[in-house]
Amino acid sequence: MKSAVIVFPGSNCDRDVAVALTRITGTAPAMVWHGDQAIPNVDLIVLPGGFSYGDYLRTGAIAAHSPVMGEVKTRAAKGVPVLGICNGFQILTESGLLPGALVRNVGLHFICRDVHLKVESADSMFTRRYKKGQQIKIPIAHADGNYRADAETLRRLEGEGRVAFRYVNAKGEATEQGNPNGSANNIAGIFNEKRTVLGLMPHPERAIEQLLGGSDGRAFFEGIAA
């Protein structure tokens, strides 16, 4: 399992996701500087969390035009799996690899805490170690995680089973109270059509051991490694 983590100026979860990949897949990812147009031959490309370019203008917008993103798009088109976590998800929507947009949380604040998620689809390399409908606890840490898309796009995402994770309350219900940021349909993560590209706001790499407060993120990386 060879992977590459793209490092943008301002990425700050690059090391965290590299640690998770190394520990769980057994192989350290290649760290690829955004200015390099070449990405080694890998089985997975990761866009990590953080504040690429300070999140200035719009979150993920400037990074989406970084030289390396052209190559990411090419690989994605060839079916190479691409994972965007938090800022990575924002970069994926800004670059058009995933539909919709992520705007300011309804409460306007940055929110860092554990949230409950429901796994809506186990039918992807990222989620195959979970069960459909399983409830997990993973931290979020973002100010702009409010997923927005037009009604038609939402219908398509739902209809095609492309919602990967949904925010839920402690009882597993997708209520407003269980929705930390106001996302449409409580969406926390979505796939592309072929389910080879996943973007999600929560940070599974922060939940890989009990000492960190939970290990529900492990299965995510185990699925990737499998």
């Binding site: 100026p9 301002g10 700050n12 979860c13 090391r15 965290d16 640690v19 998770a20 200015g35 969390g49 953080g50 504040f51 370019y53 300070g54 999140d55 200035y56 604040h109 940055f110 929110i111 860092c112 805490r113 931290p139 840490a141 100010a143 940070h203 790499e205 922060r206 890989i208 000492l211 960190l212 407060g213």
Partner: protein, 736 residues
């Protein structure tokens, strides 16, 4: 800045905040009348903020050494050995005045500044903390200040990707006109890779990196030393805007260059920017420095030498490189898209010479500016001692549960979740104990050891009795580190006081220092760095004296780490330490009895040490299930916090004694801890305590959904939690 005729220099000196004597001394050092640029340099170098002229005499009384101290006060940050070839580098700093004027940017740039103090020494920052004091929640400005400061701290720290893992936040009307915003950063470095500011090597290039210089914050350092008054308005343009994105790049670029051996000396540009950084580096190395101001990257056109030297633009560093290594360094900074310029060279003249457009803009001796820096033995009067409060004269509440509810939801004890959830406290994926407990615990990356980090101070105690308050702040910091199972190693401090020209304020300062010094000595807890912020007053009202203490400890075995949450029903709760029912200056007195008087709880440093060492040993060997110290609000608040964190209740049975029940429950006696232990371990622990002369007793049993005292006053843990969690969000939403 218009150039003035020489005759006006003395007037200008006064405008710059220099006294007549200071001006005369500057003329004497120069051997002539200084020009505007030179005078500006004197004024910032000798400002209270940069020179510590009122406080230095007292700061010398603090103990600063221990076998594990690698570098004490005097450098950008303190350095302590934490074993395995690693050091922790840390410091706390105030950004009080700027945060009052512009809360978001003031707080944000405070975080940026303290981060630079730490990474300039070669450390990767791994944690931020912040100690905040605001005015009365009912004061019309308070809400906006809280909102802006918290957003600013989060906005900066989250973006640079350093977790903000702890801090404190309290309210009192004495902070209505002067809030306190103290930020602390902790970093990790290899012991053989610590960088200092001492310049060396005549002919070596002096290099400027980071952001461009603008006109921002000119005379910010003197502003931080000026009493607030009506002219606050006029000083507004001195506010600086932080750029955390650039700071993040600067951290990465500096650490990348530090991995080579190209750097001789490095110093961040903090207060008084290029002036203090160049004087500091040259001064420490006993050398001269020549700078070509035209080479300084500038954001605006037409900047004068005065403006360039005094600018407080953020995210900038100055360093001395080995000759011939400029290209290598430049490549790194260009990769990170930062400005890089060779702006000068080290000389053997012992003078700072500034060139600007082909002219000499300033030429002044380096050493005398620090050697002859004014130092004041300001007059001081000790604070009159307040009478002890006899607990039996304080009315008992009709309903203990109601008093508990009042306290658990009062602004000082109410949960600060609304604050810390706006901080990314988990980035770097090593935060093992999040905000909400006694001390944050951050793993030393890649190891099974951790650092315990905390900030603490109880200003109402310091106000009541500065010496006791100073000792208490250190003791509580030490206790919080102990309570997670760690060994306390060293502290940084941030001394926030009023106008030092008032003898009673100097008396508070002297008293706090004396108490801190005694506690630091008794607890082997030296001060390795710190910061002083004076003139925190508006009109005649000064802040409560606030010597904020930031503590660092080491947890050698993460598996024994304690949290405050009750883990299961059916376990015993033990109280370690003696309870005399001290209600003076307590929160019970203030919030329930509506009185703010009395002496604070006495700090018995021998007992503090003995009880703390006992608790730490018990954690290492016996593994309690939960540990919490008693502080604000006393025993019942401590137990309530343990219950709320675990979602499990407890039945307390308070032993009959001469101490009135409400004083036992709410007294703020020091040196106490509550431990949750399995019933089977109780006898053993109590026996050991007895053998070691540590007061200890079983005071209750865990279980159920409520907290009860002597079988009565049941209050559900759920209700407590609601009361504790509700206040701050409701207040911030304008509903409380």
């Amino acid at each position: 800045m218009t150039v003035r005729p020489e005759a006006n220099m003395e007037t200008l000196a006064r405008e710059f905040g220099m006294s007549a004597e200071e001006y005369a001394l500057s003329v004497e050092i120069m051997g002539r009348t200084p020009n505007v640029t030179e005078l500006g340099i004197f004024s910032v170098m000798w400002s209270e903020h940069c020179s510590y002229k009122s406080s230095k005499k007292w700061l010398r009384k603090l103990p600063t050494t221990a076998p594990w101290v690698v570098c004490g006060p005097g450098e950008n940050a303190g350095v302590i050995d934490i074993g395995d070839g690693m050091v922790a580098i840390f410091k706390m700093e105030s950004h009080n005045h700027p945060s009052f004027i512009e809360p978001y940017q003031g707080a944000a740039t405070g975080v940026g500044g303290i981060l630079r103090d730490v990474f300039t020494m070669g450390a990767r920052p791994i944690a931020n903390l912040n100690a905040l004091r605001f005015g009365d929640p009912k004061h019309p400005k308070t809400r906006q200040l809280v909102s802006g400061v918290v957003a600013g701290i989060g906005g900066y720290g989250n973006c640079v990707g350093v977790p903000t893992v702890g801090g404190e936040c309290t309210f009192h009307p004495r902070f209505n006109g002067n809030i306190l915003v103290n930020a602390m950063t902790v970093g990790l470095a290899r012991k053989d890779k610590v960088f200092y500011a001492r310049a060396a090597g005549i002919g070596n290039p002096v290099v400027y990196v980071g952001s461009k210089t603008g006109r921002d914050g000119i005379h910010g350092a003197t502003m931080a030393s000026a009493v607030f008054g009506a002219e606050v308005e006029a000083k507004r343009p001195t506010v600086q805007v932080g750029d955390p994105f650039t700071e993040k790049l600067l951290i990465e670029a500096c650490l990348e260059l530090m991995a080579t051996d190209a750097i001789v000396a490095i110093q961040d540009m903090g207060a008084a920017g290029l002036t203090s950084s160049s004087f500091e580096m040259a001064g420490k190395g006993g050398l001269g420095i020549e700078i070509d101001l035209d080479k300084v990257p500038q954001r605006e056109t037409g900047m004068s030498p005065y403006e360039i030297m005094l600018s407080e633009s953020q995210e900038r560093m100055l360093m001395v490189l080995k000759q011939g290594r400029e290209g290598e360094a430049e490549r790194i900074f260009k990769k990170w898209e930062l400005d890089f310029a060779v702006v000068g060279t080290l000389t053997d003249t012992g003078r700072l010479v500034l060139k600007h457009k082909g002219q000499v803009a300033a030429d002044m001796p380096v050493a005398p500016l620090s050697e002859q820096m004014p130092e004041y033995a300001r007059p001081w009067v000790p604070s009159p001692p307040r009478p002890m409060v006899d607990a039996s004269t304080v009315p008992a509440p009709d309903d203990i549960a109601a008093a508990l509810r009042t306290l658990i939801s009062c602004p000082d004890i109410a949960s600060k979740r609304w604050i810390y959830e706006q901080y990314d406290h988990m980035v770097m994926a090593d935060t093992l104990q999040r905000p909400g407990g006694d001390a944050a615990v951050v793993r030393i990356h890649g190891s099974d050891r951790g650092l315990a980090l905390v900030t603490d101070c109880t200003p109402r105690y310091c106000d009541a009795d500065p010496k006791m308050g100073g000792a208490q702040a250190v003791a509580e910091t030490w206790r919080n580190i102990t309570a997670v199972g760690a060994k306390p190693l060293a502290v940084t401090d941030c001394m926030n006081f009023g106008n030092p020209e008032r003898p009673e304020i100097m008396g508070q300062f002297a008293g706090c220092i004396e108490g801190m010094a005694e506690a630091c000595k008794a607890l082997d807890f030296p001060v390795v760095s710190g910061n002083v912020s004076l003139y925190n007053d508006t009109g005649a009202v000064g802040v409560q004296p606030t010597p904020a203490i930031g503590g660092v400890g080491i947890l050698d075995n993460l598996r024994v780490m304690q949290t405050i949450a009750i883990k299961a029903a059916g376990n015993a709760l033990l109280l370690i330490g003696e309870t005399k029912g001290h209600l003076g200056a307590s929160l019970y007195l203030r919030e329930v009895a509506q009185r703010e008087d009395g002496a604070p709880p006495p700090v018995d440093l021998t007992a503090e040490r003995r009880n703390g060492d006992f608790v730490r040993d018990t954690i290492r060997t016996g593994r309690p299930l939960a540990t919490h110290d008693c502080s604000d609000g006393g025993l019942l608040i401590a137990v309530a916090e343990m219950a709320m964190a675990g979602g499990i209740g407890a039945a307390l049975t308070i032993p009959a004694s001469t101490v009135p029940l409400h004083a036992f429950l709410f007294g703020e006696d020091q040196a106490r801890y509550v431990l949750e232990v399995p019933e089977a371990d109780v006898a053993g622990i109590l026996a050991r305590a007895k053998a070691e002369d540590v007061p200890a007793a079983k005071i209750g049993t865990t279980g159920g959904a409520a907290l009860t005292v002597n079988g009565a006053w049941a209050i559900s843990v759920g209700d407590l939690k609601v009361a504790n969690e509700a206040w701050l969000p409701a207040y911030m939403a304008g509903k409380a």
